[in-house]
Amino acid sequence: MNAGVGLPELLAAIVVLALNAYVLTGGADFGGGVWDLLARGPRRAAQRTLIASQIGPIWEANHVWLILVVVLLFTAFPAAFAALGIVLHIPLSLMLIGIVLRGAAFVFRSYGARDDATQQRWGRVFAMASVVTPVLLGVIVGSIASGAAGAAADRLASARGGSFTSLYVAPWLSPFPLAMGALALAMFAFLAAVYLALATDDAALREDFRRRALGAAAAIFVAAFGGLAVAHIMVPQVSGALIGSGSAGFQVMTALAAIAALWAVWTRRWQTARIAAALQVSLILWGWVLVQYPFVVPPTLTIRATAAPRTTLELLLGALVGGALILFPSLAYLFRTFAAAKR
């Protein structure tokens, strides 16, 4: 831990920031798909229309954050990327299928035949893929956090090996990663519900998404504490680090953000709710990062050990700074264009 904070740590932080941006934007787009699947009641069609109108202009830009995470990971931490590609092949492939089906079905529904049968079919594919993909993303993160993915990679690297199941299936198909899958799904659904409530002027529709936001907040609570309980039994080092004294202050902040988000949704302060919800979800993400620092893939692959040579990191940082100067004004323009339009 005392190796100091330098260029590798800075780039690792940027990878997490990009992941954070993906969760807050792309994650919410998946959450929108969840509410499409769960659209109920007399305003079912209006709910779906609102979701589609909110996702439509921005989901592809939001999706690029994930590409950026992948590219940054293999440029700056190639050994970590290689290890994860090997042992998490199956959940990563399944997540990719979800990503492909979600995106493709969304445009097929938007631009395909207008008849009800076609619309319903692609709507169903879009919504199902929107549920499955976040779960897999959470499962992957859970598998890394628990150290199981890293342990399997270590066994392969040391040629100790193991059965197919022990190397390629068990590290992710186990209770803790699945609990993290549920948590990711609940977080994305929560973000989406809060954003959607803010995005509509229709009072009844807004109440629909308020109820959904409250339900999702409860689901986050259950998944988070369920995950902690599972961790306590199965991966005590993770639960120990999460509730240990070192991160206690951080967990208090997360709890405060959660309470603030819940209060704002309850009292219909939507602007506040959006900020508090985004903060809560971000703090949960950074809580994971803090627990496993300085490892990229625990228990052995650290930031320093997997970092690319300094030349690469320096160039990459330069490219990121230059890219950000173009990217952020462009993103601001995109969001302003479509945020101003709904009022």
Binding site: P78, H89, A308, L316
Partner: protein, 435 residues
């Protein structure tokens, strides 16, 4: 099927699928911007309809390109972790730059598609220009990586076989970089432009909305025609780089087994790896030496100069090369014909023989692209990094790779079928477009 072959097949299929949508994503935005620009200049309704139509097609095809491109970025690690572990720091730069170009593309495509009524006319057109420019930039960055795999530079090998003293900037400027990037860009405009021209030519033959389809045909030819005509020259540049840097690939392209001075150019033929000779080919004396080295007496290294395990599957490479050249030449000829008709100030859309030819060669550009991709990728085998890392050493240790191959094959076949049906229905809708 071995795991290595399954991994190679999955990568080839993923790339073969993506490359079509990538090319469309590069050229289609340019065409829709041109249509909108014409509409704003002339006020003709047909151009407005055309811009909206092409934008609709772009929206669908770009999305499929975006998600299939995502698959590829993950597959680098899922299938080739050994490659990425060593090459990641060297080739990460162009991928990172591509990430930002892709960001701009996605952001301004959103503005373009959903912003017709929300941003001013200049801003809207400018958004489209940004999409077209960043699409082209993305293609260049990605191809820089492939060029490096063909002509790797910017490192030394350490004792363990890893890359040391790496220089990512030099790696971006590998010997094949310019020629390959140019060839890919021209391929994108030629394939997409001529395919769109083919569709509108076919609609004109059916007598549908001539004002609309006539304008569409002309604009598509402006984009696709010049690129198709220039592509053979760009191919010549590429071939000379291959001749200078990848002699085994050149020998495979031509089915040249013996090292000789004044090697012939072979048209057609079947390279027989067991007998180490190429039969049934039409041979143009000294043609290969002349084309590849611009010297009829130049020595061309044959496949026998390297051990059999260092040679690519010669028949696949040779046939793919012949297909690429043949399809590309047909495309260039029809483009020249169309240019000649237009230059003589005759109406393109009433020349039924030309329309028929355009409809027939419509898919040729995409087929030539697929063949060309096979040439460059299969032609580099058994290397993933030419001369430095074998593909077999890069593949994931995970067994059972046939399963993901089968899964993604089914996924892409299904997706491909839906896209074709959807684009066909978008085209059919235009038969009643305002004339």
């Amino acid at each position: 099927m071995t795991d290595l072959l399954a991994a190679r097949t999955q990568m080839a299929m993923s790339l073969g699928f993506h490359i079509v949508f990538a090319e469309i994503g590069i050229a289609m935005p340019l065409m829709m911007v041109l249509a909108e620009w014409r509409w704003r200049r002339t006020g003709e309704q047909a151009y407005y309809d055309l811009a909206r139509r092409w934008a609709k097609g772009t929206a669908v095809l770009f999305a499929v390109g975006a998600v299939s491109g995502t698959v590829l970025s993950f597959e680098l690690g899922l299938l080739w972790p050994g490659f990425m572990r060593h090459a990641g720091p060297l080739i990460g730069m162009p991928f990172s730059l591509e990430g930002f170009a892709f960001f701009l593309e996605a952001i301004f495509l959103g503005v373009y598609l959903y912003g017709w009524e929300r941003v001013g006319p200049r801003a809207h057109l400018a958004a489209g220009v940004v999409v077209a420019a960043s699409g082209a930039a993305s293609a260049v960055f990605v191809v820089l990586v492939n060029a490096w795999m063909n002509t790797p530079v910017g490192f030394t090998l350490d004792a363990a076989g890893g890359f040391a003293n790496i220089d990512p900037v030099t790696a971006m400027r590998s010997p094949a970089a310019f020629q390959q990037a140019l060839h890919m860009l021209l391929a994108s405009y030629a394939a997409t432009g001529m395919a769109v021209a083919g569709v509108h030519a076919w609609m004109l033959l059916r007598g549908a909305a001539p004002a609309f389809h006539g304008r569409a045909l002309a604009l598509a030819l402006y984009v696709g025609g010049p690129a198709a005509v220039l592509q053979p020259f760009s191919g010549d540049l590429s071939a000379r780089v291959v001749a200078a840097t990848q002699p085994v690939k050149l020998a495979a392209l031509e089915g040249q087994w013996e090292t000789v001075r004044g090697a012939p150019l072979r048209i057609g033929g079947w390279p027989d790896a067991s007998r180490e000779e190429t039969r049934y080919a039409l041979e143009i004396p000294r043609g290969l030496s002349l084309l590849a080295f611009h010297d009829p007496h130049a020595e061309v290294q044959g496949l026998r100069a390297v051990p059999a395990e260092d040679r690519p599957p010669v028949a696949v490479v040779h046939v793919a090369f012949q297909m690429m050249v043949g399809l590309g030449s047909a495309l260039a000829l029809v483009a020249l014909w169309a240019g000649w008709v237009a230059w003589r100030r005759r109406d393109l859309s009433s020349d039924r023989r030309l329309l028929r030819a355009l409809a027939i060669v419509g898919p040729f550009g995409f087929l030539a692209t697929e063949a060309g991709w096979v040439v460059t990728e299969v032609g580099r085998q058994p290397w993933i990094v030419q001369g430095f890392m074998r593909t077999a050493h890069a593949v994931t240790p995970m067994p059972g790779l046939v399963a993901p191959l089968a899964t993604f094959t089914v996924l892409y076949l299904g997706l491909g079928a839906v896209v074709v049906a959807l684009v066909a229905s978008l085209v059919r809708e235009t038969s009643g477009a305002r004339a």
